[in-house]
């Protein structure tokens, strides 16, 4: 039974996160922020974490979604919805499929 559970393959997850990285980069540049400036606004200890995310590696910590939304000038709900689309596509589909139709 467990084998039937749909799992996102590492390749799929990587593609999703790479796409998310591009989107995050666009948002940052729209705000006119450098990676270092964004990291400072988020009080990150090393700004290369921004570059890492924009390259599709790693995830934004769940408990900091709201801060990221604010730093990138996004509506928190829409921002988290987008993150869910990239990080948890199956969950996103269940929650928002009807809405999309």
């Amino acid at each position: 039974m467990l084998a039937e559970v749909h799992k996102v393959s590492p390749e799929e997850a990587r593609e999703q996160r790479t796409a998310l990285g591009h989107w995050l980069k666009e948002l940052r540049e729209q705000q006119g922020l450098s990676q270092r400036e964004l990291a400072e606004s988020l009080s990150l200890e090393y700004y290369t974490f921004i570059s890492q995310l924009e390259n599709g590696r790693g995830k934004i910590p769940t408990h900091r979604y709201a801060e990221w939304a604010a730093a990138l000038g996004q509506d928190p709900q829409e921002f988290v919805k987008a993150l869910l689309f990239y990080y948890e596509p199956s969950t996103y589909k269940i929650l928002f499929e009807k809405e999309a139709v």
Binding site: P10, A13, R14, R17, S34, Q35, R36, S43, L44, E45, Y46, Y47, T48, F49, I50, S51, Q52, N55, R57, G58, K59, I60, P61, T62, H63, R64
Partner: protein
Amino acid sequence: MTNIYDFPSRSIEDKEDGFLQQGSDTLAFDESGKHVDFSDKVYQSIERSRAYERANWSNQELASIYRVKCLLDAAQVPCTVERGQSDEGDPWCVYCTPGGEVFIHLCRISGTYILDSPNLSAPISGANFTQLIERFSNGALQKTRDSNGQKHRVVKLSRGDNVFLHPATLLAALIWSIYVESEELVLLSQDEQEEPSHDDAILLVNSLAETPSGQELLKEATFIAGHASDANLINDRLPDHLDDGEAQLVVGADYAPQRDVTGKNGLFPPQTVIATGLSAIAVAVGLLSESFINRQPDAELADLLATLPDDPGNESLLTNTENPDKTKGVDLAAIVTSFFDHLVPETGSYASALSDQMATDTSPVAPGAVLSADAMKLLAELAANLRAEIDPDTAPVQTEVVELANLLVDLPATPENADTPPSAPQAAEASNALSGFVDNALKITGLQNIFDDMLQQYALGGTVIEASFDIASIDQAETSALERLLPGKTDIEKPVPVRSDSSAVAESAVPAPKPDTTVEDMPVFSLFDDNVRKFVNHLLDKSEKVEMIATESELIFIDFTAFDEADDISHTMSWSLNGGGTVSVVGLASEFQDFDLIVA
């Protein structure tokens, strides 16, 4: 008749220089056409591009990063390495699980390395990998105490002044330690202020021998051995069945202490991975063993034997109850039992008998338990059988077993010898031992024909050495370099030539008693491998100014071109020989760099 064509001259307006323009920037040439005049924006753009490239990982750094990956792979920790540069050019790399979870972020920002992991309470930073490790050891892990409030065991591997550990070695040890949330594999400069703790231990883990990759590593590796405060320490670390369970990371969704900044989940390796991986990394990089086996083992064991009562036949051997401090932190029984149990399967019957004997001798968890006379006798039999059965030429690992067995058999005599003033026959014996060591060491290194008939014995610092040159001729700088390798031999300026006959040696050079040497004092060296052999051969081929000095446990090659110019930078490095002893090289730092032995 000829046709004359008249080509109209082109007006300035017709000049097509659009290709020289990009936006508001124009590329212009001076009148000679030789020099290019960049506008400020173009120039700055080029400079930024160059700076961006310069800031990237160096080849050496990349080599270290990917060597760590290889070591982790060998340790059954499959991972991928991804890297990139920030918009300012600062390089970063991440080690990811096969599922894509990042478990290590390493970056260099303005020359400072920063390393972060979900398992760290805060990122650690330093100017080099050594500093990262030092800061890690100061409690960077989230959990530094277990549920019983006991501090985690810390293996401290002493580093001598002339010891160099490869950056990848340091980085692998650090990443591995973070990965398993353990402080057990930490390379440190010895903290002299810290008392040796009962919990301090050198792990004896040999599950590596049961994996194909591990067996490959073992061929070129030395032993893992050392202190064990109790036998259970080792047993707990060894997997019961290496094949049980896949070596996969488990992402701990419920892991409470998450890092605030990155919020990444804690990662938990299975227990099997811990033991196997620890072995793989430790053996692959030669981290652990030299301090116990390869590096002047007689001195090491002398230190261990200091914990033994003087009379091997005394029934009070089991535990030194009158002076518990004397046996603090050392459980020879545990070392020996585990050593033979796990490293030498074919000696299982002996090891089993030994274990049984020790089980009747003392409680397995009794700190400071030592071997009984019966156990020592059993060891002697074991050693004798090993010598008879094992061919050292075809079994490099087992050769070390014989070495250990030999040492163990000699245990009771060592402390007494240390306290006995040397006699003339002993001096002659030392001279012969010196020659024997030199012959054997040169054979092992493949350099036996280089200094034929060139070696002469000298009395130096109360002992006898062999040298391929007149050591009275060396200058101050060279003396200084040698002093580091031959500490305590302050009369190096006035060496006394010694005739080869042993009586002359006895009269002119009575060896001084060896200074007390503790385990903590012993430096850790990498193994003398093919790359080092090529390096030494390169020096010998390159220059006629390479000479050799030999002590009873060390060959020292000196490239005197390292002292030709005042601004020459010399470097000293040492390696352990598989058959015991050390090889050191004094030479130009740049030569070491050429062979990737040190980083510029």
